[in-house]
């Protein structure tokens, strides 16, 4: 009824109408939500401040300019005990980027090869790929890493009795030694040779780095293999049939017709695998590779500044995630099929 009930005055009616206005109610629920969250945040902050006061800690990032006082096993830039904590973090970040860079490349190669192998008509190749994929999908990465590091690399013999693999590759307790190139004085490829108690020439990757890189590569490679397989199978059979009818060989069909189209289907889930690899590299802390998380953990233990360090770490990893997904989104947009 549009007529106001006779027992209520108009102003009361207007107030009631206001209180029942849907826009008001929406705003009210937001305010209530903010108050609740704010209230909880306030209570948590109070507890935090009290706890910090009790333990005599004060928050601040100034400690980053203090001397580190610890050694780091491997580094890409100059570092010593006298360097600053901030410097130590940089070392860690570079180590993380190094293993992520090579990890992304090698896992993609492994993934492509195994994914295509999974579709092979050759029974052995097909089954090897299948076993590989099922192993990687069902064993936790950390267990794999720990196994590679503690169960394999640390059990390797001394340099003098190093295991040799064709191609001048050696496995010993110093790690993985491979031929490498030098740029000075001129570009040349060095083959490692045993001299005394060590290898000279070539590149020796520490057991920690080797275990981490190999572990990340084969683990992520397994998942990428599944993505590649699904991507290739998603391209309609008609494409394969048309190509074969035109006379292309199996390999040509794959290279020229199937893979380019499959790339579009493969790129998005591939992105998330690269992101996972970047995040998973943090497991280096479990096997002693001095990556970003390891070093920040050391700093945290030395200075007791766990809150500050955690915020720094989370911020850095978040940025890495965002940058990686931005790059890959850009690439994804570039290769999108232009449709009518």
């Amino acid at each position: 009824m549009t007529q106001a009930s006779p027992t209520r005055s108009t102003s009361t009616n207007r107030l009631l109408a206001f209180l029942r206005d849907e826009r008001f109610l929406q705003a009210l629920s937001q305010i209530i939500f903010i108050l609740i969250i704010g209230g909880v945040a306030y209570w948590l902050t109070q507890n935090l401040l009290a706890a910090l006061a009790r333990q005599g800690i004060r928050l601040g990032y100034g400690f980053l300019t203090e001397t580190a006082g610890f050694d780091i096993g491997e580094m890409m830039i100059e570092y010593s005990r006298e360097s600053l904590f901030a410097r130590a973090l940089q070392v860690g970040l570079l180590n993380t980027l190094l293993v992520c860079f090579w990890g992304i490349i090698s896992s993609t190669i492994i993934g492509l090869v195994v994914g295509v192998a999974r579709l092979s008509t050759n029974f052995i190749i097909n089954r090897i790929a299948w076993v590989f994929i099922e192993l990687m999908r069902n064993i936790p990465l950390l267990v794999l890493l720990v196994f590679l590091h503690g169960g394999i690399f640390l059990q390797l013999p001394r340099v003098r009795e190093a295991i040799a693999i064709p191609g001048s590759i050696y496995l010993s307790n110093r790690g993985l030694t491979i031929p490498w190139f030098t740029l000075t004085p001129a570009f040349s490829i060095q083959v490692p040779e045993l001299q005394g108690f060590n290898f000279s020439g070539g590149l020796t990757l520490s057991p920690e780095f080797s275990a981490l890189l190999i572990g990340l590569s084969i683990y992520t490679g397994g998942f990428i293999a599944e993505i590649v397989r699904a991507g290739i199978q998603a391209i309609s059979k008609g494409q394969t049939e048309a190509a074969r009818a035109l006379g292309f060989s199996w390999w040509q069909t794959l290279r020229l017709i199937i893979l380019p189209q499959a790339m579009r289907v493969i790129i998005p889930p591939l992105t998330s695998q690269y992101l996972n690899l970047t995040k998973n590299s943090s497991l280096a802390v479990a096997i002693g590779y001095p990556d970003l998380l390891s070093i920040s953990n050391t700093i945290s233990n030395q200075t007791g500044r766990s809150i500050e360090m955690i915020t720094i770490i989370m911020a850095i990893y978040l940025s890495l995630s965002l940058i990686t997904s931005a790059i890959l989104n850009w690439y994804n947009n570039k290769v999108r099929l232009v449709e009518r």
Binding site: M1, T2, A17, R20, D21
Partner: protein, 251 residues
């Protein structure tokens, strides 16, 4: 309800405007519908007819003008919106049945949750309605197991279960295969003859001729012409109306 003036329209729209961003979908609609009337709204796509019918039960919000349903004005007041919705029932082009519930559960959900009916009462009313629309034997099947025509009839029963005073139909047969249109129209005709106030957006001119009291031709957000079916079909006044009718009635 105490003294109600006879002949006060059950739906009353004055100067209703609606914008979607910059685009104006409704430009000053005036309409009165009396209790028990059957209104047919027709017109080309994009003319605002669906938008209009959806403002009646507040699925769309109008920015200017007044809409009064059974004496309740549609504003931002949630209580008014609630009351208007309880008096109107809607049938959609895509049926919108709940796929995870049986036919009977689809029909009894709202009465039990909104009107707080007991299960027995709801089931009884539900079964009556299913009989009324002609498919009592489908009561415990799932919507996915029914044909399009049957699903739409369930949708009608579901809307009727809330005992609305007004039934709104938004192109109810447009998504149906031709052989099923008749069964749904038959139900709608029976409903019209039983005295229900109905507002129907449709292209089915046979239906309009059979039961409509008044027809409205919408184009570009305005009512171009209105009249009884006789007037519209035999002597349309506007050129646009003539053009549209010739296109619709030719096939």
């Amino acid at each position: 309800m105490s003294e109600q003036i006879i002949n006060q329209p059950i739906i009353s729209c004055r100067d209703v405007h609606k914008w979607f961003g910059q685009f104006q979908a409704l430009r000053g609609i005036d309409m009165d519908v009396q209790k028990g009337e059957v209104i047919v709204i027709f017109g080309p796509s994009g003319s605002g007819k669906s938008t209009f019918i959806r403002t009646i039960n507040r699925l769309e919000e109008h920015q200017r003008g007044t809409i009064i349903i059974d004496g309740i004005e549609l504003t931002h007041d949630v209580r008014n919106i609630e009351r208007v919705r309880s008096e109107t029932g809607m049938v959609f082009q895509q049926f919108n049945l709940f796929p995870h519930l049986t036919v009977m559960e689809n029909i009894t959900l709202a009465p039990m949750r909104v009107r707080k009916w007991k299960r027995e009462q709801a089931d009884e009313v539900g079964m009556q309605l299913l009989k009324r629309v002609g498919i009592p034997e489908q009561a415990y099947k799932y919507p996915g197991q029914l044909s399009g025509g049957q699903q739409q009839r369930v949708a009608i029963a579901r809307a009727l279960a809330m005992q609305p005073k007004i039934m709104l139909f938004d192109e109810p047969t447009s998504a149906l295969d031709p052989e099923m249109i008749k069964e749904v129209l038959d139900v709608m005709i029976e409903l019209a003859r039983s005295g229900m106030t109905m507002m129907v957006v449709t292209h089915e001119m046979g239906f309009a001729r059979a039961v409509a009291h008044k027809m409205y031709f919408f184009d570009q957000g305005q009512i171009v012409e209105s009249g009884t079916p006789d007037e519209i079909f035999k002597s349309p006044k506007e050129d646009r109306t003539k053009l549209f009718l010739s296109q619709v009635l030719s096939h």
